[in-house]
Amino acid sequence: MKNSYIGQAWLVVVLSLCFGAALAAVQTTLQPRIEQNKLADTIGQIPKLVPGAAGGELQRVGDQVAYRAMDASGQQVGWVLAAAGQGFADRIELLIGMDAAAARITGLYVLDQKETPGLGNKIVDDAFCAKFQGRATEPVLVVTKHAPQADREIEGITGATISSESVVGIVNAAVAKFREAPKP
């Protein structure tokens, strides 16, 4: 018994079972709260992203996650679209606010990013996100190095060309896909 595999490894097996059970209990207890935190973060942004919106509800469109933005009386006033893509350092997750016809962008919020602090992470600042407000979703947006001269131009962040272009690219791709998808 002492030299058999079980004799050697019984402690590892017992500990694995105990730890597995403990982790399952922790996960079961905390998961609803964690999901709620993420959802609250998103829903809390909706009034800032869509003018007149008071709240929203989750609505899948094709394989995209979107939120139907409602005003206080329950009328739909726009959409908030969740989008993600590769940035300079890691994935960037965005929330894009649009009007009900998805014709104009009404706001932009960066939900998650790991861009370079001091340079690329300026994409989370209002100064950058506000540049997307009121832009038409057709034709696609482009990044420029000077003050915008046309509706489709977004001035990039100095020292963070790739981060700026990533955000604009993610917005363009997600919005184009969303516009084509049939809405429920």
Binding site: Q8, A9, L11, V12, L15, S16, F19, A22, L23, V26, Q27, L30, R33, I34, N37, K38, D41, D112, K114, T116, P117, G118
Partner: protein, 211 residues
């Protein structure tokens, strides 16, 4: 068995300065460099490490008589991974913003050498009291290390101290012509520079004292 090695009190004192994990053992460098650009991040990380370190040390000390020499590292890793996962989930549930900021560095506590080192050096050889005081002492030493680096980096890099929790501004914002925050202190190079200078200072004082 618990008579071997330093006494619980020696273990506790050693962890804080004589065997400080950051400045003396040079362990746990990844979080030391990565999350010390604000006091909030540094203290949350130190708290998570303290939780994992104390729980692991206590548990390993309790089961030390059952450990097989060639399977001990496996048991250490299993124990540490469990407590790290618990810490990560609790942070995500109750300190969501901080958990978002620390990102992957909380799960990475699993490979933090301080914890596995304390399990190996102390908890697997000594009794419960020595293991507990050792964990608390090392955790305090680690907190001290992170807080000292974060203090320098946050003040020079952002002009604040506990800026997000308490809003303390050390360097007034109103005088940009006299002072602008050093962005490099917020970036990774600032961590290396600060750690190097502080470690040099610690060694200099230690050498002077020894004379």
């Amino acid at each position: 068995m618990s008579q071997d090695g330093p006494t619980p009190l020696e273990r506790f004192i050693n962890g804080i300065l004589p065997e400080n994990p950051v400045y003396r053992q040079i362990l746990g460098m990844c979080p030391t460099l990565a999350v010390t650009n604000s006091m909030e991040g540094a203290l949350t990380m130190a708290g998570a490490v303290a939780f994992v370190l104390i729980c692991s040390n206590v548990l390993i000390s309790l089961i030390r008589g059952l450990l097989k020499p060639h399977l001990r590292i496996l048991v250490f890793t299993l124990t540490i991974a469990t407590f790290v996962t618990i810490a990560d989930r609790v942070l995500a549930a109750y300190m969501y913003e901080m958990s978002k900021q620390l990102g992957p560095y909380v799960p990475l506590i699993i490979v933090n050498c301080i914890i596995i080192c304390r399990c190996e050096v102390c908890a697997s050889k000594q009794g419960l009291r020595a293991a507990l005081t050792d964990a608390v002492g090392q955790a305090l030493g680690f907190t001290l290390g992170l807080a000292s680096i974060a203090t320098v980096r946050e003040i020079l890099g952002s002009g604040t101290w506990f800026g997000r929790w308490l809003g303390w501004r050390v360097i007034p914002e109103a005088a940009p012509q006299h002072w602008s925050p050093w962005v490099v202190m917020v970036l990774p190079p600032g961590a290396f520079i600060t750690l190097g200078l502080l470690m040099g200072a610690v060694n200099w004082f230690a050498a002077r004292k020894a004379k």
